[in-house]
Symmetry: C2
Subunit: 293 residues, 2 copies
């Protein structure tokens, strides 16, 4: 199986570009990364933002590491984006992904992604409002795919999340989104499925397993996030922690569905107050476990 | 004791301005709030940002709720700001707080705050680099205090955090920062001390209690964040959860130090995947416990 690192583990810690590239290539012996927008905020002024982003891209290239995609992290996920209740907020959500596409293009990285958006608590309970906002969001997203193509990207990624107030959350939701966008967008749109989201039992019950996702949206899944979880919350624990996901399960899934290049990006979110030396040792230990699996 | 709400509990959930103001004033029967930048990103284009922020300010005013300050939340805390390793990142940190001051002014709110900043893992271990960057950050902050004064703010707030790689973390750090800024800034700078940060045992050991903070920086503490914690991590649990902080402890501290208007802002951070109805019931239950304490 092809392992990669989402860079969330490094935010606020190892943020100097060459130092981070060396950490990934040498200390963690990894060749594929997904660059998190928590390192460079897509909303920063374009010239400074692109200079910073290019500096990271150059450092990874020099270290022999491929940045396969860029992705929204904690800061991005704090806002509601294109499913927000007002047209003003939805326009800000559109600009957010537009900015991220520009930054991704500056890095010469082929794909960018994030969750689709979040309904407000009130809208989430109102089927008519959900449908109205969803239709608008589809139009926005089709427009963004045109922008992605113009900037030279070859794919956009959407990450389903384990919340009934967002979209898509279920595999059926994800299938609907893929089918609604299929043939409409200027670059293909695919799913980045997070194992810990898919295995969230409070929302998905007996469907809370990756085989269900493979059955429903198998061909649409281009990338995975992997994390350890107990199925009760979206834990983003590391694989040094006991839980439902084992290296054997990951490898078995990879082999059984004949995956080839749908990188498993380890997306571990440490408490901010966790000590840097513990984070580094924990990442090394988890990668060792995963590689032995 | 004077209870208020930091609005972090509502992000992505109850974000419509009038709905949120009604929730605070009626469902939660609260008159004081600290507005989180997780509702309006200070980095959004100024005109749209200020219109959205003013709309929240107006809604709270109509509901009889006072917005006492605005404060950085999860998205803001994701970046390193004025203690970052490069001049470019520190300038972005300066602009971040400058933007937040502008937004706060647009809301006609008198105070804005956030943690001071975060050293990289490497810089944090290098005393000379720490000192050099700290000196630059002080200059930046003095400049920001001028901007705050020009925009009509009357106070800036700094929140100490439970990480040795940031500054200030200890009460002694916080005292140094207050003394270094005292007399230099155009508006007073005070501390917003989070009980859960102060009680973080892995870093502070036997000093991990609020009496220690009262002794060292008592006069500098203008505002508090309250949260439930076990002292092992920065939990931001609600008071429906067992832990080290009890309503009695909070009231006893308030009375013993003769506090008058240093609002205890309840800052609860729910998992994004927690259900909206659970969040609301939990907030109601916690406020009931706190008011009975």
């Amino acid at each position: 199986m092809k392992l990669g690192l989402n860079l969330s583990f490094a935010i606020k810690r190892c943020i100097e570009s060459e130092r981070l590239a060396t950490l990934v290539a040498e200390d963690l012996d990894t060749k594929y990364v997904q660059f998190t927008w928590d390192l460079v905020d897509p909303g920063w002024p374009a010239q400074t933002r692109d200079a910073l982003a290019k500096d990271y891209a150059k450092a990874f290239k020099s270290a022999g590491v491929t940045v396969e995609s860029t992705f929204g992290g904690l800061a991005s996920y704090t806002y509601s984006h294109i499913l927000a209740p007002s047209p003003e907020l939805r326009a800000l959500g559109r600009d957010h992904l537009k900015n991220a596409i520009d930054m991704t293009a500056a890095m010469e990285v082929p794909a960018a992604g994030m969750p689709f958006g979040s309904f407000s608590a009130d809208d989430a309970l109102n089927p008519a409002r959900r449908e109205e906002i969803y239709k608008e969001a589809l139009e926005i997203y089709v427009g963004l795919s045109r922008h992605a193509k113009e900037r030279g990207l070859s794919m956009l990624l959407v990450e389903p999340v384990p919340l009934a107030t967002e979209f898509p959350s279920t595999a059926a939701d994800a299938l609907r989104l893929m089918q609604d966008l299929d043939g409409q967008t200027d670059v293909p749109v695919r799913l980045c499925v997070d194992w810990g989201h898919a295995m969230f039992e409070p929302l998905f019950g007996t469907d809370a397993n990756m085989d269900h996702w493979a059955e429903v949206v198998g061909p649409w899944m281009a990338v995975y996030h992997i994390q350890q979880t107990d199925g009760h919350y979206d834990r983003h624990w590391n694989f040094t922690h006991d839980g439902l996901v084992t290296p054997e399960l990951l490898r078995n899934y990879w082999d059984r569905y004949g995956l080839t290049d749908q990188t498993y990006f380890l997306e571990i979110i440490f408490a901010f107050e966790e000590r840097d030396e513990i984070v580094l040792e924990d990442m090394k230990a988890a990668l060792k476990l995963l590689r032995a699996g």
